[in-house]
Amino acid sequence: MDYVTRGFRGRRREPDESARVPPGQYLTDDFPVLSAGPTPHRPVAEWSFAVVAQDGEQLARWSWDEFRALPSETVTVDIHCVTKWSKLDTTWEGVSVDTLLSDVEAEAGYVTAFCDGGYTTNLPLEDVTGGKAWVAFGYDGEPLEPEHGGPARLLVPHLYFWKSAKWVRGLRLMDEDEPGFWEELGYHLYGDPWREQRYWGD
């Protein structure tokens, strides 16, 4: 095997942890922060969350107080960042995307999450429904800090964490899968960590 690096041994994981860590990832106990620009500091009084149709029509909208009055869930999930760290058993509080879409009468194959700061990311609708995604406002029992995406971020733990858009302000329904911010810049359109879909062509 000519790709063996002389002298490298590495650090093996316990088998029960290994089964939870996707290929090419390592475990961290920290909570690293990644973002492409300055952290927006949006006061909740100026925050709202919207669901927008393909033609731009606003289908639903919640103020912060209305959003926080929706039923919420506490979930414990593993998260996987494309920069290679994974973190097990992270606990979040948020509103299921199913709840946010429950009264929306529209058809779409995809959604684009849009955010303060201009960030976007694209997801198939079926990946944010069926109990697979939340708009999270709490982390580890505390309000979500701005650097981690507060006041609220998308949480889609089964995909690489860039899909869990920070500072999220809404979902736009889409008929086609249009690449978002990182997806335009070389990152995979879908981003399944178990298939190691990090970059274009993976």
Binding site: L34, A36, G117, E176
Partner: protein, 252 residues
């Protein structure tokens, strides 16, 4: 996936077996790994690469490292800081030798990049976060770019400053690059630079009035990046022209 065919125009980023040409100690805790990478597709200043190491028994580990070399350099250089208890970085800094081989793929990242015609540069480095910014300064020099550039480099001590001699040379009079340091923990006798963590006053002094044509690149540990980016925005910089990258202990 309708967009995939268009997006796939560059093809997959395949793993390449790179050979170590030399390992250059930079500071007691960091080294530059100079690599020959067959068929390297080229990169832009500010991008990074993924490294994959394989042990005899097939165990593998991957990490991402910023590229320090200019796109014009025929060899690829990664500067790696040893993280205590890290799995990969202590091996790269302390064990790797010329002639060893590691797998590498890239370049990765299309946002935190600067082209020589990309306008004035405002660079803010925290510790090893200087690495991708150095690629920009090397690119600027290699292309004889006349874009004005200012680097504010925050380090704990002078001994931890990377590329000090080269920065001094690049910052020599007439080159259009100004370099300012702040040493946050330990200063040599007679130190005349800054001696505190970065703040708005310091950024105002170093960078002067907001230049709408300039792009700011901020790279370092999270606390540094958050403070620097917040201060730039407070000084009136357009948030869309403040680009951030993290470089710091994430278990590597």
């Amino acid at each position: 996936m309708a967009g995939a065919a268009v997006l796939g125009r560059l093809g997959p980023l395949r793993w390449r077996l790179a050979e170590v040409v030399e390992v250059v100690p930079e500071t007691p805790s960091a080294a530059t790994i100079v690599l020959d990478v067959p068929d390297w597709p080229g990169h832009r200043a500010g991008q990074h690469a993924d490294v994959r190491l394989t042990a005899e028994d097939g165990y593998q580990a991957q990490r991402s490292y910023s590229i320090a070399s200019a796109p014009e350099d025929p060899r690829l250089a990664l500067t790696v800081e040893r993280l205590e208890n890290g799995e990969v970085s202590p091996f790269l800094v302390d064990e790797l030798r010329a002639g060893d081989r590691i797998e590498l793929r890239g370049p990765i990242g299309g946002y935190f990049v600067w082209e020589a015609n990309g306008g004035p540069l405002r660079l803010l480095a925290g510790g090893s976060g200087v690495v991708p910014l150095m690629a920009m300064l090397r690119h600027r020099e290699a292309t004889r770019s006349e874009a004005p550039a200012t680097l504010l480099y925050s380090a704990r001590s002078l001994g931890e400053v990377l590329y000090r001699d080269e920065l001094e040379r690049l910052g020599a009079a007439g080159a259009g690059l100004r370099v300012s340091y702040t040493l946050t923990r330990e200063r040599p006798p007679g130190w005349s630079g800054y001696d505190r963590r970065i703040d708005g006053d310091m950024l105002g002094e170093v960078f002067g009035p907001v230049d709408p044509a300039a792009t700011a690149f901020v790279c370092g540990p999270t606390s540094f990046v958050e403070a620097a980016a917040d201060a730039l925005v407070a000084l009136g910089h357009d948030p869309a022209r403040v680009k951030t990258e993290r470089f710091g202990p994430t278990g590597g």
